[in-house]
């Protein structure tokens, strides 16, 4: 692609773009609805599905947009009768051996094939083959990926992911003609720590996550953009959750969200499956010495504890948002407390790789450093009051005088206060490259649960 701007036309409209830019990329990025399967921004053109055809002035035959480069004076037509008919024909071919089992397919509702049929289907019984080629419907590829051969339209996105992105070449096409199918090498399973991305990539229901399979229909899901808290990379994700009236909200999956500056198009499998943490082992009630107490009582207990202790140590989790850490800093100054956010215990050398996964398995370690919070391990004597804001280290500290604001339960005999998880809170994170990103609040728990800032406000009024 050159830095020269050129003028070209799409459906009679004059447009400007860089010379040599991929036409399909341009069209998709600018809101044109061009049916396509095999092209993906991260994988480039492969030219096999033939769905993205457009008419180009001067060319005798329709051309695939994904392999057309924009140049001066290019005249493109995307919606002529010829193109419409072509899309119908290609679609008809793709459906010839397709089982059309949408009612039991997890991709239904977000399937390209289904979507395009709405626009270009023939809606005519008998247009499809009666005796279809029977293939396997549930092949375990490993790493939570299951493959339905019959639904595969052979766009090779999955194959190209392992060939071009991870360079591990874990999938390939085997057999020929309409018997072609995707396979791992004989007796091999997928091994990549990023394998589940192919489920996002697959435009149809051929690759599914065994973790999500049969759990929820996608039209019941709501999506919210967010940031993975699995490590200091801060990959951009979409959280898919259900919020049915009178029912507790539930997260069903994380998907990768494109951000060229951070994670590109992908996320790691571990990050993807970390949605489960939201539901497991959560603290929901205020407890003191293992018995439930009410909010008022808790607030007054906190007040007393703070009053009677001279030496106060506050531990702040490096998973908290910048703004939350700032309120903790403010509060700690007011209390004259020592504030720490040790990072050592979040280190995991084995987790790190040279792509996305990073050693520090916590979201805002770089935010902690930017705020200059002490990251060393504090001395705690028997007289010290420990106020813990969800820090991992706290579970290993044995002290009687403690107040724990926590999301997930730990072994503590002190005062335990439920804290909103990062999904239930919002604000900024700083990642390892210094990029500050905003994570909106996704879930509101059935029973309101306070965030760090809200807790401090609540207590602050009382001290």
């Amino acid at each position: 692609m050159s830095s020269k701007m050129v003028e070209f036309t799409v459906n009679g409209k004059k447009l400007l773009a860089f010379e040599g830019l991929n036409l399909l990329k341009y069209l998709l990025d600018n809101g044109y609805n061009i049916p396509h399967y095999c092209y993906h921004d991260s994988l480039g053109a492969d030219g096999n599905c033939r769905m993205c055809m457009v008419e180009i002035k001067g060319k005798k035959r329709p051309q695939i947009a994904c392999d057309t480069l924009i140049k001066e004076g290019l005249e493109v037509n995307t919606n002529t009768p010829t193109i419409k008919r072509l899309r119908e024909e290609i679609l008809q071919m793709q459906l010839r051996n397709h089982p059309v089992d949408c009612p039991v397919c997890d991709k239904a509702g977000e399937c390209y094939l289904q979507n395009y049929y709405m626009d270009y289907g023939l809606y005519k019984e008998g247009k499809h083959k009666k005796q279809k080629i029977k293939k396997s419907k549930n092949i375990e590829f490993g790493r939570n990926v299951v493959y339905d051969e019959e639904r595969c339209i052979l766009c090779k996105r999955c194959v190209r992911f392992f060939a071009n992105i991870t360079k591990t070449n874990e999938l390939g096409v085997i057999k020929r003609a309409n018997h072609s199918t995707i396979s791992t090498a004989p007796n091999q399973k997928l091994q990549s720590q990023y394998a589940m991305n192919i489920v996002d990539l697959c435009p149809v229901g051929a690759l599914l996550s065994s973790d999500f399979k049969f759990k929820q229909r996608v039209w019941f899901l709501q999506s919210s953009p967010s940031i993975c808290h699995g490590c200091t990379k801060n990959c951009n994700i979409t959280i898919d959750y259900s919020s049915t009236k009178f029912q507790a909200e539930r997260i069903y999956r994380y998907k990768a969200r494109r951000n060229e500056d951070v994670n590109g198009y992908f996320i790691c499998d571990e990050g993807r499956l970390s949605y489960k943490e939201y539901h497991t082992n959560r603290v929901t009630q205020i407890e003191y010495k293992n018995s439930i107490i009410d909010f008022k009582e808790a607030i007054s207990k906190i007040g007393i504890e703070i009053f009677i202790h001279k030496d106060i140590v506050i531990l702040a989790s490096p998973n908290l948002y910048i703004e939350e850490l700032e309120s903790i800093i403010k509060w700690s100054k007011k209390l004259n407390a020592r504030l720490y956010s040790p990072l050592e215990c979040y280190k995991d050398k084995e987790f790190a790789d040279n792509w996305l996964k990073e050693e520090l398995r916590v979201a805002n370690a770089y935010g902690v450093m930017a705020l200059e919070i002490d990251t060393s391990t504090p001395d705690i004597s028997s007289d010290t009051l420990l106020i813990n804001f969800d820090h991992k280290l706290a579970q290993d500290i044995n002290t009687l005088h403690r107040i724990d604001f926590i999301t997930h339960s730990i072994n503590s005999q002190g005062l335990i206060l439920p804290l909103a998880s990062w999904v239930q809170s919002s604000r900024h994170l700083i990642n390892s490259s210094g990029i500050k990103q905003y994570a909106p609040k996704t879930l509101v728990a059935n029973k309101p649960i306070l965030t760090v800032t809200e807790w401090i406000e609540a207590i602050g009024g009382d001290i």
Binding site: A45, D46, G47, N48, C49, R50, M51, M53, K60, R61, P62, D67, L69, L86, E89, I90, M93, Q94, R96, N97, G126, K129, I153, L154, K156, G172, V173, K175, R176, A177, N178, H179, S180
Partner: protein, 419 residues
């Protein structure tokens, strides 16, 4: 009928596979004089001769070679296409079994001309016998100092590696061939946006057919003008044409371009066997069939066959007499294409199977009344909308059969009233 012997000049000599015998009859004589020449003059001579690729496309060889003369950072590679899977085509193996040293001589000249020291011969997997002949000939050439690190004491190196295909027709398509040679699945690549060489592991590569390369020694020895004495102005020279089917003397015979097809069939083929001529597939199965009237007009050169709406292809003629049932003949071909489509492009993957099924149902008298239209329609969807020209070729094959012998197809639909 003027006989020509350019590639087939030593075909009839007993024991010519042995290098001693071959040298006695003039093989490798051009190599001794080769180092006095500037490589570029060889490329120019080939360009001037108007030599056209014999692998099926008929592209000018000189233009392809010239692309190799640019400055490249990585070493260049020469690949010889001996996949020869096209039904009706069996000329390359003839060269290998009847004069393998001619091919090796051509390879040395070509590699010197374009500056490629590494040569790969991609040979059809099923060609066991010819693989052995070729390997033996290469071994002899190494021993005689025509191949290896130090050709005839010149410090110039050429190494030939013979690679066997794994039995896929599509691996004859040059980019699929290179994918296969790289150890990958033989899927054709998307065509480049401008004229450029092929790429083997990112190295600039020239792919030429066996016969194309086997023609090179003649041109280098006798000059472009000697080659142009044969043939027509646009299709100069000669080609190894082959005949199979209902013919009295099937086989491979060299003829100059422009020869009348009928004359060739009569002269070399000894006429049609067992009946009258019905049609000829002119250049390997993938070229549209010609009916008897067209055959009478046909001349064996690229332009006149193109005028008849078909193409000269590999020059492998399949001759059919009037006992042939054209629906069955088409079914036979479609089965082949259904089996051999690489399966990448939607129209080809599904289309080849679909047309095969339709013709099969015709033969079983269970086709729907609009089957002929459907066949032509699917053919249109396959035409010009795929990565390689496999699918368009199938479309042409269907068009040829259905349009020229439509009544035979209609015969199978008589009385059918379903849907």
């Amino acid at each position: 009928m003027k006989e020509v012997k350019i590639v087939s000049k030593r075909f009839d000599i007993e024991g010519i596979n042995h290098i001693k015998k071959a040298i006695e009859h003039g093989a490798y004589s051009t190599i001794h004089k080769m180092f006095d020449k500037d490589p570029k003059t060889i490329v120019d001579e080939i360009d001037k001769s108007g030599l056209r690729g014999k692998g099926g496309g008929g592209a000018p060889t000189g233009a392809k070679w010239k692309l190799m003369l640019q400055d490249f950072k990585l070493p260049k590679v020469l690949v010889i296409n001996c996949d020869e899977n096209e039904p009706g085509t069996f000329k390359d193996r003839q060269i290998i079994s009847k004069d393998p040293h001619l091919l090796i001589e051509g390879i040395i000249l070509t590699s010197y001309a374009i500056g490629a020291n590494d040569v790969y011969i991609y040979i059809r997997g099923e060609y066991h016998q010819w693989q052995n002949i070729l390997q033996k000939a290469c071994d002899e050439a190494y021993l005689q100092g025509y191949l290896g690190k130090n050709i005839l004491g010149s410090k110039y190196r050429v190494d030939i590696t013979i690679c066997k295909g794994a039995g896929a027709y599509i691996c004859g398509e040059k980019s699929a061939l290179l994918e296969s040679l790289e150890g990958k699945r033989g899927h054709p690549r998307l065509k480049p946006h401008q004229k450029e060489p092929e790429w083997y592991f990112g190295r600039p590569t020239l792919v030429n057919n066996v016969e194309t390369i086997a023609t090179v020694p003649f041109i280098v020895e006798n000059g472009a003008d000697a080659y142009k004495e044969y043939g027509t102005s646009k299709s100069p020279g000669s080609m190894l044409f082959a005949m199979s089917g209902h013919i009295n003397n099937p086989g491979v015979y060299e003829a100059e371009f422009g020869t009348s097809m009928m004359e060739y069939i009569e002269y070399y083929g000894g006429g049609i066997k067992g009946g009258n001529l019905k049609g000829v597939i002119p250049g390997g199965a993938s070229t549209p069939i010609l009916n008897a009237t067209e055959v009478a007009k046909a001349k064996l050169d690229y332009e006149s066959i193109k005028e008849l709406g078909s193409s000269l292809g590999t020059g492998g003629m399949i001759v059919m007499n009037d006992s042939v049932n054209m629906v069955e003949a088409l079914k036979n071909l479609l089965e082949f294409y259904h089996h051999e489509s690489c399966g990448q492009c939607t129209p080809c993957r599904e289309g080849t199977a679909w047309v095969d099924e339709i013709v099969e149902s015709m033969l079983r008298y269970s086709a729907s009344y609009n089957s002929i239209e459907q066949l032509l329609q699917i053919g249109q969807t396959m035409n010009g909308k795929t990565i390689c020209v496999f699918a368009p070729a199938v479309s042409g094959v269907i068009d040829g059969f259905v349009k020229k012998f439509r009544s035979e197809f209609e015969e199978y639909l008589r009385g059918v009233c379903n849907e």
